[in-house]
């Protein structure tokens, strides 16, 4: 029941927002998200990692087609649901100083998206999953379209068409699987996992799904919608996209591709891995000379996600566990970094690095938080980023030392572009501010400080004691790997 509540509550909160009116919309949304977070924490304390799917609800929805409203939480879902419901209040809190026009609409969209994301992360019926998947796309599309920067119409259109294209491929795959199930057909994950189509068919299904997920993550070369969209979206939109939404792609690879088409993974996983590796080097290399704060972060995120995806396709426990915890850490770090980009923009009116510099003198608290989150992003030991990065690289090493050597370049590259980012915005002499919005650059205050301090705190805590998160996912990941025959494809 908790699971169903976590989907229903944000939707119900939309009604609350409408009832409370636009002056109180943001605080209502914040309270709703905090309630959601508390319930999630409660669920996590009750969660038993070794006990499989929990807190579930299974009801018939469209019996003629064998469609169920079937949701439930296992270790993998637990982690991403926790991430979603942890980030949602932070993202809402990060917006309270910024007065969006038509706040009821804005916060309703955020909450609808939250509900859809929880749905995606917990659905155990593939049709239901698909509905949530599409449902998650609409609010973010509207957020970018209505609240985005210039060029937003063109860019959101591309983003929408691109992701829709992926979704349609996935839909074809879903229907194909559906008709393979014994009559009366159904979409249940357990049925689908036991279908075992022949190897040839598995290859096709693999690609139909993988391209859909690869667009979402994104994986090279399906990524070109991403930097534009991240740059154009309003700050909270970028945070939703990078912090949570791209995890839909990663999660879905683990949730659906690995169990349903293991032979497809064995045949084609290496190609996916190579594409991911290319993404790491390619994205990092582009990031080192980017001049736009947000675009640099977009490419860094693209590179980091490449490593997460590569680690999945090593099919090693260490690699997959690393991917899981890195999903969590990446979500926290990237939300913090994009928030910092916005804080700087609000005060200076620019994202252009050549126009920035020397802000540390004016804003020591911002500089300190920025540094800590940045260290998480470059994977310094005792920050959240290191745990995942170490485990993922260790997984890639088990696949092949050469893969680890290439993937490991990320630790050099990320230091190059991240420290450049830090230096050009925070260090050096203070540049004259191009905009007149804020003559005297103010340090963070109020809600900004709260969000950044929470994020910085999480960066360090997860880095020192990641065990609760690792323990949450390990049994579920082990179970998935067990069902892939002949896992040692690299030996």
């Amino acid at each position: 029941m908790i699971n169903a509540f976590l989907i229903a509550w944000p939707l119900f909160s939309v009604l609350l927002i409408l009832a409370m009116g636009k002056d109180r919309a943001k605080w209502t949304a914040l309270m709703a998200a905090i309630v959601q977070f508390c319930v999630t924490i409660y669920a996590w304390t009750q969660f038993v990692p070794t006990a499989g799917v929990q807190f579930g609800t299974d009801m018939e929805w469209i019996p003629q087609l064998g469609i169920h409203f079937n949701v439930g939480i296992d270790g993998i879902s637990m982690l991403v649901v926790l991430l979603t419901n942890l980030l949602a209040p932070l993202i809402i809190l990060s917006s309270v100083r910024k007065n969006y026009e038509r706040p009821t609409l804005f916060y309703s969209l955020v909450l609808i998206m939250q509900a859809a994301l929880v749905g995606v992360f917990t659905a155990r019926d593939m049709f239901l999953y698909y509905i949530f998947w599409e449902l998650a796309l609409v609010p973010i599309y509207l957020i970018v379209l209505i609240y985005g920067a210039e060029n937003r119409v063109k860019i959101t259109f591309k983003f929408f068409i691109y992701t829709m294209f992926g979704s349609l491929l996935m839909l074809v795959g879903i229907l194909y699987l559906y008709y393979l199930t014994p009559a009366p057909h159904n979409f249940d994950i357990n049925t689908l996992s036991n279908l075992h189509p022949d190897a040839h068919a598995q290859g096709w299904i693999f690609w139909a799904f993988f391209i859909a997920f690869a667009i979402k993550m994104p994986v090279f070369p399906f990524h070109t919608w991403q930097p534009d969209t991240y740059t154009t979206a309003p700050a909270q939109g970028t945070m939703l996209l990078s912090g949570i939404m791209l995890k839909m792609g990663i999660y879905s690879v683990i949730r659906w591709i690995l169990p349903i088409v293991p032979m497809g993974v064995q045949d084609w996983g290496k190609v996916a891995l190579v594409l991911s590796l290319i993404g790491i080097v390619y994205g990092s290399w582009i990031a080192i000379t980017q001049k736009d704060f947000k675009r640099l972060l977009a490419y860094s995120s693209f590179a980091h996600v490449g490593l997460i995806s590569a680690a999945i396709f090593t099919l090693t426990l260490t690699g997959l566990q690393g991917s899981m915890i890195q999903m969590f850490s990446h979500g926290i770090n990237i939300v913090g970094l994009f928030f910092i980009a916005q804080i700087i923009y609000d005060r200076t009116g620019t994202f252009q690095l050549p126009n920035l510099g020397g802000l540390m003198k004016k804003a020591p608290v911002l500089a300190a938080c920025f540094l800590i989150i940045l260290l998480g992003s470059v994977g310094l030991p005792l920050t959240d980023g290191f745990v995942g990065e170490f485990m993922m690289l260790s997984g890639t090493y088990q696949a092949s030392p050469w893969i680890a050597a290439v993937a490991g370049l990320t630790i050099i590259f990320s230091a190059v572009y991240m420290f450049r980012l830090y230096q050009s915005s925070m260090l050096g002499e203070l540049k004259p501010v191009p905009s007149t919005r804020d003559e005297n650059f103010e340090d963070v205050k109020g809600s900004e400080t709260i969000v950044l301090v929470i994020i910085a705190f999480l960066v360090v805590i997860i880095g020192i004691y990641p065990k609760p998160l690792l323990d949450t996912t390990e049994p579920a990941i082990t179970a998935i790997l067990k069902n892939i025959p002949n896992v040692d494809i690299w030996q």
């Binding site: 290399w285 000379t289 020397g358 310094l380 690289l393 630790i411 050099i412 420290f419 925070m426």
Partner: protein, 638 residues
């Protein structure tokens, strides 16, 4: 107090010092900042002395909690207290405390005084973690953590772009080495099923028993760890960050970039001595890299005018000596030199700091001169340090350096010859520095001259303590020739007992031969000092401004290595970044994506024109298509 509590206090108190000063330092008086900063290190030192006593009885492993695990892979927060780690701890907190004390005077007028002490405490925290860790991953925490502190402290004066660039360069070059280290750790786990020192070295014993030397896996592991050491300990080709790191405050150069952090590479190899002893091939590489770096850096040191740059290249060169020791299997000698070097090089840097302090921030030796009357304590102590590094008996450097040279001679006389030449060059550039700074006439302006003064006692007391250590530190390792007792060898005997059965290559020096080698090196060094005095004591201001020519110019420009790296690596990498962004990313990949969109659009527009509304055209098209389908059906399908 039990040992687990002592370790916890020793590690956590510097961290608490960091937190207190970092969070509240701007709101509390400077005196309190100093007490927190220095006090926390003093407490850690007291703890470490207790640990030292306990380690004499035998090693102990203290485990706190499980950090990372996945299936059979598991890493604990766990610390190893043995004779090797406690010696490092004593150096770190002993020398570290003196340098903290010195900083109270040196940094007194800085606005960000609290931030300085916070970072310095954080450094001690990470450095202790590095040497205390009982497995490679905990060591790696410290390894990267000290790199962070180095970054923060090199770029401490963050308004200066050059300083920031130096800081960034240090971090990135270190990270190149770190990648090697990390992959080395993976390989170790793959080979031994664990990354705990205890289990890894126990596993390595199997190779010794089977007489299995130069196994490919071991060579890879040792080379990868050595790559990490190259980055951290500034050896060729990753040494160029260390001279630039002199941008940081001088006490930082003394602590991080001379006495402790840069020796981390030595420590890790000594810690892994079992593995290195199994790979004579890697050892040869280490000896060659070490001796080349020692020589190469020393020659650059000859032509530097910045007092700190001279010392920086000297550090690179001395680290090279230590690597030579490790390369020839003389791990104890490497540690011996690490220790004496920590004393005399910290001393030299702090003296240089005292000079810079007196000169109002000036670091160029060309405008110094004749300072010995104005700064008598600094002069005497710096002379001590210079004699020590030059290897004049009975100063500390003599014992440790000659021990390395003797061991090098046993391994291969060529190493000894190059090492000896380097020692002579060392004496020349060090005495050049001393003479240019303290002898002759003052070459600066009148304002600087009126400002000259001896430093306050918080600065001079650490100098005196370190000077005494630089004088007596060598007595821990008196060679047999002099009939003394080699205390350090006895101390380390339990640590190195596990490689006792590894066959020793090379000859064993006779006492007379050892004595001759020693006499030759001391004699040559004395001659070098004499020539240096002839050349540099009487330098005038005019003689300083000559443009260096020929080889001297090459040296003054550090063989143009920075320029070469810039041209061959940095610029092409940036260019390539822009290239792939513009052409591959925007034009090609995104162009294709947009092209598909445009093509769809275009074909839609074109096909639309077929919808003319004429029934005749539709019927005609239908008939044609039916015919084509029938043909296809008949010819291709059946």
């Amino acid at each position: 107090m039990n040992i687990s509590a002592i370790v916890a206090v020793s590690i956590l108190v510097p961290f608490a010092g960091f937190l207190l000063n970092f969070l509240f330092g701007s709101k509390i008086p400077k005196s309190l900042v100093s007490i927190i900063g220095c006090g926390s290190i003093l407490i850690a030192l007291a703890m470490n002395i207790m640990l030292f006593v306990s380690a004499l009885d035998g090693p102990a492993t203290i485990t706190y909690f499980n950090w990372i695990h996945a299936g059979s892979f598991s890493v604990d927060f766990s610390f190893l207290i043995d004779r090797l780690s406690v010696l490092m701890l004593l150096i770190i907190t002993g020398v570290g405390f003196l340098i903290h004390l010195y900083s109270v005077g040196y940094m007194h007028d800085d606005d960000a005084y609290f931030r300085y002490f916070a970072y310095l405490n954080l450094f001690v925290f990470f450095m202790q973690m590095l040497v205390m860790g009982s497995n490679y991953l905990i060591a790696f925490i410290g390894w990267e953590g000290v790199g962070l502190c180095s970054y923060l402290l090199i770029g401490f004066w963050y308004k200066n772009t050059n300083y920031n660039n130096a800081a960034k360069k240090a971090f990135i070059m270190n990270r190149i080495g770190d990648l090697g280290f990390l992959i080395g750790i993976f390989w170790i786990f793959n080979q031994f099923g664990s990354i705990n020192y205890k289990e890894v070295f126990a596993g390595a014993q199997g190779f010794i028993i089977n007489n299995n030397y130069n196994d490919t896996v071991i060579i890879f592991i040792t080379v990868l760890l050595f790559i990490g050491a190259i980055g951290k300990s500034a050896q060729i080709p990753l040494y160029t960050w260390l001279p630039d790191a002199m941008a940081g405050p001088t006490p930082v150069s003394a602590l991080i970039h001379a006495a402790t952090m840069v020796t981390a590479g030595i420590y890790v190899i000594v810690r892994s001595h079992v593995l290195y002893s199994l790979a004579p091939f890697t050892q040869d590489i280490i000896a060659i890299v070490g001796i080349t770096t020692a020589f190469f850096a020393a020659t650059i040191g000859l032509a530097q005018n910045d007092i700190k740059k001279v010392l920086a290249y000297s550090t690179v060169s001395q680290l090279g000596y230590m690597f030579v020791a490790l390369g020839v299997g003389a791990y104890g000698s490497g540690m011996f030199h690490l220790m004496t070097h920590a004393f005399f090089k910290a001393l030299l840097f702090l003296c240089a700091g005292s000079v810079i302090h007196a000169m109002g921030g000036e670091q160029d030796m060309r405008v110094m001169g004749g300072l010995r009357k104005k700064l008598p304590i600094t002069f005497i102590t710096m002379l001590t340090g210079t004699l020590a590094i030059s290897g004049i008996p009975p100063f500390a450097g003599f014992f440790s350096k000659d021990e390395i040279l003797a061991k090098a001679y046993e391994h291969n006389p060529i190493l000894w010859v190059v090492g000896l030449i380097t020692a002579v060059i060392t004496a020349v550039y060090m005495f050049r520095m001393l003479f240019l700074t303290f002898y002759g006439n003052f070459r600066g302006d009148a304002h600087q001259e009126s400002h000259l003064h001896e430093s306050p006692s918080t600065m001079t007391i650490p100098l005196m303590v370190l000077a005494v250590l630089s004088l007596v530190g060598g007595f821990l390792g008196i060679p047999e020739v002099f009939g003394g007792k080699h205390i350090l060898n006895d101390y380390f005997a339990p640590i190195f007992s596990d490689i006792a059965t590894v066959p020793h290559t090379g000859t064993v020096l006779s006492h007379s031969m050892e004595f001759i080698l020693m006499a030759v090196s001391v004699g040559l060094v004395l001659v070098a000092i004499y020539f240096a005095s002839r050349m540099f004591i009487k330098k005038t201001a005019e003689g300083m401004d000559e443009e260096p020519k020929g080889f001297a110019k090459l040296l003054a420009n550090k063989y143009y290595v920075d320029e070469i790296y810039d041209t061959l690596i940095v610029k092409p990498a940036d260019w390539f970044s822009g290239f792939i962004y513009r052409f591959l990313e925007l034009d090609f990949i995104d162009g294709m994506v947009n092209g598909i969109g445009r093509a769809t659009n275009y074909s839609g527009k074109t096909i639309r024109k077929l919808q003319t509304g004429h029934i005749g055209f539709y019927l005609f098209a239908m008939t044609i298509c039916i015919v084509i389908l029938i043909l296809i059906n008949n010819f291709f399908i059946s």
